[in-house]
């Protein structure tokens, strides 16, 4: 058996925290090898060790059977290891070619010979069917294209072993399909691939073998053909996992949120939400399904007053809240779990207790006008921390930054739900969380619904939308192109709708937006 890469007994510490312990991963030539683990399990750390960004405390790495010391990415490159990063490592205002040649520029008379480089990039692009324009600027091309530029970067340097870090996170279903084709073509050309992911379906479809790590520990390696998603999930989480969320049938009441002909533009003045119509009723969860970048962020920002509405109306319980200030909307009865909890949801340098007061700090009993009662903040915080099982370490004075992602999110949900809003907007509420926290959050959303509140769930994860929602509105190019019921649809159909295809039924709504 020929291994191209062997990582044996790797251990990596950050201060007192052990990110990787005794992990072994062996990559065969010509295989696609999945590295599976929950968020925070240590997958990226392990790959950064392989790529020379971190140095391991123990264990050894062999490439083609020879022990190596990968002190920096240059050595990894020289060994034929290339990395396609999850957060693309691209300079936005550079061209594709400039990004690809950076660090190993071809020159004539000391000058960068961009023409020569562009020609080589074009050749590589054609050979691997990547269809990339070497002279386009990164800021002008799509996310899928940017990923191909990342792949080209490794190929340009002659990589034989490619690491893909969560490559499907922000791709459309079509782009995912194309990526899988590209990976297969790479294998055919003799490359070997490690793919980091926590998505079981992709693993089953694309990989030959799977190495699983849990909480930094190596669990083992299995052959994909001899396993199934349930077994993989159990290995990953360490216990039995329920894929279906338990919930009763919804009994929707009257409209809480009604959105009519909404148009919202982004900071460049381009319309990102176009004539969008939507309603959410008491006692139901409406899921917005769609691929990242189809106007979800702008829609949420418009609903919560963070972005100006260009035209159209938003009403809450019959009251027009279009273009009101965020605080007025909050007080009208909207709770908002923001899509980026670090950016919008929390002041990370505040204690978690002060964060729990973020929406109520200005009102009695906390604020007495000019002066503020920090004792009352602590009281409220302790109550929410208790009710929502927020693990803090040092109580309400723990800095928010020191909490895990799941506990930060629980605190945010506690803060928002505690105000008892009629409409709860949950944007990507489980992004980056482990299975336990995801289950907790889903059950809290359903609990709100059962209390007769309206819940609007925005998610990029099809599983989540299918499992939690009572009704699914599909967003594409800034407009709701169709509304379906989880029970009457399939992931395939949703995937097509999300990609802008119309449903093959007479009652389907017309497709909006422009191509």
């Amino acid at each position: 058996m020929e291994y191209v890469i062997e990582m044996l007994g790797i251990r990596k510490e950050f201060g007192n925290f052990v990110a990787n312990n005794n992990i072994t991963l062996q990559l065969k030539k010509g295989e696609i090898h999945a590295l599976l683990g929950e968020n925070g399990a240590g997958k990226s750390t392990l790959m950064n060790v392989l790529f020379g960004l971190y140095q391991p405390e123990a264990g050894e790495i062999r490439v083609h059977g020879k022990k190596v010391n990968i002190a920096n990415p240059n050595i990894a490159n020289d060994l034929g290891i290339g990395m396609v990063h999850q957060h693309f490592m691209l300079v936005e205002n550079f061209t594709v070619t400039e990004n690809i040649i950076l660090g190993s520029e071809p020159t004539t008379f000391g000058m960068v010979s961009l023409k020569k480089a562009a020609k080589k990039v074009r050749e590589l692009s054609e050979r691997y069917n990547l269809d990339v324009d070497p002279n386009a600027k990164i800021e002008d091309i799509s996310v899928g294209m940017q990923q191909r530029v990342e792949i080209l970067k490794t190929l340009y340097r002659g990589a034989e072993m490619l690491i893909f870090d969560e490559p499907t996170a922000s791709l459309t279903p079509q782009e995912i399909e194309e990526l899988i084709q590209i990976m297969r073509l790479l294998i055919k050309e003799g490359k070997s691939i490690i793919i980091i992911t926590h998505k079981l379906k992709e693993i089953m479809e694309v990989s030959d073998r799977v190495t699983i790590i849990r909480k930094g520990e190596g669990i083992g390696t299995v052959v994909t053909a001899e396993t199934n998603p349930n077994e993989l999930a159990e290995l990953m989480v360490g216990r039995q996992v329920e894929f279906k969320t338990e919930k009763t049938e919804a009994t929707p009441g009257e409209d809480v949120l009604v959105v009519k002909d909404l148009v919202v533009s982004d900071y460049r003045g381009i319309d990102k939400v176009v004539n969008l119509n939507l309603n959410v009723r008491r006692g139901e969860i409406v899921g917005i399904a769609g691929i990242d970048g189809n106007g979800q962020s702008e829609l949420i920002e418009a609903l919560t007053g963070l972005r100006k509405v260009k035209s159209g109306t938003i009403t809450l319980n019959g009251q027009n809240i279009t273009n009101l200030k965020p605080r007025s909307i909050t007080e009208a009865g909207v709770g908002h779990i923001p899509e980026d909890r670090h950016k919008h949801g929390l002041v990370l340098d505040f204690p978690i207790g002060h964060n729990i007061a973020l929406q109520t700090y200005y009102k009695p009993p906390i604020s007495k006008g000019f002066v503020m009662d920090y004792k009352k903040i602590s009281e409220k915080a302790r109550q929410v921390i208790e009710e929502y099982d927020v693990r803090t370490g040092q109580g309400e004075m723990t800095p928010a930054r020191a909490l895990s992602g799941g506990n930060q999110q629980k605190a945010i949900i506690g803060r928002e739900v505690d105000r008892n809003p009629d409409l709860l907007i949950a944007a990507l509420p489980t992004r980056g969380l482990d299975v336990g926290a995801i289950e907790f959050i889903h059950s809290r959303l359903i609990e709100q619904r059962d209390k007769g509140k309206a819940v609007l769930l925005i998610s990029f994860e099809l599983d989540e939308v299918m499992n939690v929602s009572d009704r699914i509105a599909v967003i594409y190019d800034g407009t709701i192109v169709d509304t379906v019921y989880p029970k009457l649809t399939s992931e395939q159909e949703l995937g097509l709708l999300m990609a802008g295809e119309t449903r093959q039924q007479p009652d389907s709504l017309t497709k909006g937006g422009t191509e």
């Binding site: 990063h85 957060h87 300079v91």
Partner: protein, 329 residues
């Protein structure tokens, strides 16, 4: 003075005042492009000015008029060494760049006066005997032909080529070379990448720390030259008030020039005009009616207006001002 006379007076004088700014601002462009804000340019210029005057005074008699070049060379080295403090703090020690820059300014001012008192036992140096002199570009004889008699060109001759400082020519040269280096060479590509997205550069095997060190050292070297040129053409001695804001004005030129070497060149020239008018404006009709204070504050106000987007939006390199910490997302 007639209109043409005024122009013949203002333009050479503006170039004179702009020259030190050009050197220093180009230095600032290098540093900022690599992601290091260099507030310490003022202090670096002070160090350069002191070094220049010191070398000029000490070796002027022995070397003669050419001592100015040795002085400039010494200032280049002194500026680079001094800027090493910023590089170490901002790049290796993750210090706040603005705070370090402020410390550099204080240190430059204090160390130089300390040295002046130590060496000369008084608060300021004597005047130098060999200052940077102007000359006329009236060409040179070869094969019986007078080549490039630029000073004889009507209008442009008196405007640009009759009262030329060799340091000004050097400054223009530096600006053009900087443009070439930043936009045409692998070094420049890496420099810009490091200032925009250091982690991307790092993953491509570009040594971010090394690039930033080099850029800061270049800014120190050019800032040192700027100081020496200013002292040897304009004040001709060194005291606490020799460099009074020129470094900050160079920062203004970097921004007003939109972080582009040729832009910085243009901005420095423009500020040179403003300085000329504020100093010598009382000899010029119309200008003499404008209170000097308006001309004095013009460069600063214009820079603010440029940043505010009234004169085309100035956008800084993305990673400017932030230390790069390996392995942090």
């Amino acid at each position: 003075m007639s209109g043409l006379d005024i122009l013949y007076f203002i333009i050479p004088s503006a170039i004179l005042y702009a020259t030190p700014l050009i050197f220093t601002a180009i230095g600032g462009v290098f540093s900022e492009r690599s992601g290091v804000v260099n507030i310490g340019l003022e202090g670096i210029m002070v160090v350069g000015a002191f070094t220049g005057i010191y070398v000029n005074l000490e070796y002027g008699e022995a070397i003669g008029p050419n001592v100015i070049w040795f002085a400039i060379l010494a200032a280049l080295v002194a500026g680079a060494v001094f800027s090493l403090l910023l590089a170490v703090a901002a790049v290796s020690f993750r210090a706040d760049q603005t705070v370090t820059g402020v410390a550099l300014n204080m240190l430059g001012a204090a160390v130089t006066i300390f040295l002046v008192k130590l060496i000369y036992d008084k608060g300021q140096t004597d005047m130098i005997a060999n200052s940077i002199q102007r000359f006329e570009m009236d060409g040179f004889e070869l094969w019986g032909i007078n080549w490039f008699p630029l000073a004889n060109i009507p209008f442009f001759g008196p405007l640009l080529f009759q009262n030329v400082y060799s340091t000004s020519l050097l400054a223009f040269g530096v600006a053009i070379v900087a443009w070439f280096v930043i936009y045409k060479t692998p070094f420049g590509l890496r420099l810009r990448a490091v200032g925009e997205h250091p982690m991307a550069a790092d993953t491509m095997g570009v040594n971010v720390a090394k690039m930033r060190y080099i850029a800061v050292l270049i800014s120190g070297a050019l800032g040192g030259i700027g100081g020496a040129v200013y002292a040897q053409t304009i004040t001709l001695d060194f005291s606490a008030s020799t460099i009074a804001g020129q470094g900050f004005m160079a920062i203004a030129a970097v921004i007003f020039g939109k972080w582009h070497p040729l832009g910085a060149l243009g901005a420095a020239l423009f500020f040179g005009v403003a300085q000329t008018l504020s100093i010598a404006g009382n000899q010029i009709p119309y200008i003499q009616d404008i209170p000097a204070v308006y001309l004095q504050i013009l460069p600063y106000v214009l820079t603010i207006l440029a940043l505010a987007g009234f004169i085309g939006k100035a956008i800084a390199p993305k990673a400017s001002g932030t230390p790069y910490i390996k392995g942090k997302r």
